[in-house]
């Protein structure tokens, strides 16, 4: 189970990489493993405003449909269109090629956990 130290996590198993006011979002290694083979991703529209905790994308595995919740609030400025043809990138590289969207943050955020806190949360 990979939990990079430079990211923050939510209790719904999303990750966020914050660089100034730009946040890159995805789902954690734990989440992709629990879902199994991901076969479809519904991406948000660019320009959409999202609030922390809002469902902004959908990830579907062979058997399950899962909402992806926003770790931070702001405006969607970029989506990972590669996932439309290769949704399995979320399985193979959840923190890299499997990123879902980029957001220009408005400073609001859900409860975010650092690596240590998320590790502890997974062990509970």
């Amino acid at each position: 189970m990979s939990i990079p130290a430079d990211l923050k996590y939510t209790k719904e198993h999303e990750w966020v990489r914050l660089e100034d006011d730009i946040a890159t979002l995805g789902i954690s290694d734990h989440a992709q493993e629990a879902l199994g083979d991901i076969v479809f991703v519904e991406l948000p529209e660019i320009g959409r405003r999202i609030a922390p905790g809002e469902a902004f994308a959908v990830v579907e595995s062979v058997k399950a449909v899962s909402d992806v919740y926003a770790p931070v609030g702001g405006e969607i400025i970029e989506v990972n269109e590669l996932l439309e043809s290769e949704p399995e990138k979320i399985n193979t590289d959840p923190y890299g090629a499997g990123w879902i969207a980029r957001v220009k943050t408005d400073g609001s955020s859900a409860e975010l956990l650092d690596e240590a806190a998320y590790t502890l949360f997974l062990e509970e």
Binding site: G36, D37, V39, F40, E42, E60, V62, K63, V65, E84
Partner: protein, 363 residues
């Protein structure tokens, strides 16, 4: 919640890292560590997949009136069976709706073997026992002592032959042999639920682990429920609780081909005749999305913008894309603009022909 039952291979599933889920009252592997897609691919692309389907039930029917009993209790024409032949069939109630779908094996003129769905087993046995009071037959529920494995895929025959005395080449599609595996009596039929060539093996529980391990050793790939459902949905095979249930008759479910109205009286016949006369209340259709998305069970199906029915089984097929079986109003079976409502949005679809993916069963 009642405790889940285990098949004789439960510990094997755990040892392989199978992800266990509740299914029809049993703790069953939904997938193994390689994942459902790799399992699916192993079966479709030339290897052999090994499925533990021991949760299914087996009922032996013997006695001088076994044929007359089964003609009355099941929908298909059992008189058409010779020894060594298998038949897809169903049990209906007096309303003509499904108690279960089954397979009937003819062992001899006065001996038959039924394979039934796990979730329906106790209901089926109680129903059949009640019907059997009027016939000179004996029923034996052999489910608890029987392990049922399916070995499916291009390599199935080659892998299995090493364990079986009978020349498998002599067993045709929907035929079976009573043979021996590891010196114990077993039934081997060329049947399955995947659309690939392959076999189903009825074994005494005592050799379940040994046969399971031998087939894995020979390079069979263990397959969980998720891949099994993908494989059967691509073929358009009905699944009890989805396409068939006690809410529909064979007229709705497109299963009149296993309902032989001309064979004489059987339970549900009158109701089916009437339903055929008045027309189906809904129709089962196959559809394929042309827009992006995955049609899932219970998603609404729209025809010309109005809700007409719902998806009964749906999936993302690696070959065919978003595919589904669905019930719609009878007048919509043939025409009208089709769509599936996915998270509030209408995603365009077209009618499809079954199977969705080419079948490789050996006819």
């Amino acid at each position: 919640m009642t405790e889940l039952a285990h098949t004789p291979l439960y510990d094997e599933h755990l040892a392989l890292g199978g992800k266990i889920v509740p299914f029809a009252g049993y703790a069953m592997p939904v997938q193994y560590p390689d994942g459902a897609l790799k399992e699916y691919t192993a079966v479709r692309e030339g290897r052999a997949g090994l499925f533990d389907i021991s949760h299914m039930g087996q009922i032996r029917v013997t006695g001088p009136e076994a044929l007359a009993f089964l003609q009355y209790a099941t929908t298909n024409d059992v008189a058409r069976l010779n020894n060594g032949q298998v038949q897809y069939s169903a049990l209906l109630n007096e309303q003509g709706t499904f108690i279960d779908d089954i397979t009937t094996y003819r062992l001899d003129a006065d001996a038959y073997y039924l394979c039934v769905n796990a979730a329906n087993r106790h209901k089926d046995v109680a129903h059949l026992q009640a019907v059997a009071r009027d016939f000179n037959v004996q029923l034996h529920d052999e489910s608890d002592g029987t392990t049922l494995l399916a070995l499916q895929g291009h390599d199935a025959q080659h892998l299995l032959q090493a364990l079986v005395d009978t020349d498998l080449e002599t067993i045709g599609y929907y035929r079976f042999a009573e043979t021996q595996i590891l010196g114990r009596p077993a039934i081997v039929s060329r049947t399955g639920y995947t659309g690939e060539d392959g076999f189903e093996l009825y074994l005494p529980n005592t050799i379940a682990t040994e046969v399971w391990r031998a087939l894995l050793e020979a390079d069979a790939v263990p397959i969980g429920l998720a891949a099994r459902d993908m494989l059967r949905t691509e073929m358009g095979y009905a699944l009890y609780g989805h396409e068939i249930s006690d809410a529909v008759t064979p007229v709705e479910a497109s299963l009149m081909w296993i309902t032989r109205l001309d064979k004489g009286d059987f339970i549900g016949r009158q109701a089916v005749l009437e339903r055929r006369e008045e027309g189906p209340r809904q129709r089962l259709i196959a559809l394929k999305l042309t827009g992006r998305g995955i049609p899932r069970e219970h998603y609404p199906v729209l025809v010309d913008g109005e809700t007409s029915g719902e998806v009964t089984s749906g999936m993302h097929s690696p070959v065919a894309g978003g595919i589904a079986l669905a019930y719609v109003r009878p007048e919509h079976a043939g025409g009208g603009e089709l769509a599936v409502e996915i998270r509030g949005r209408a995603v365009a679809a077209t009618r499809a022909r079954l199977p969705f993916v080419r079948s490789n069963v050996r006819k």
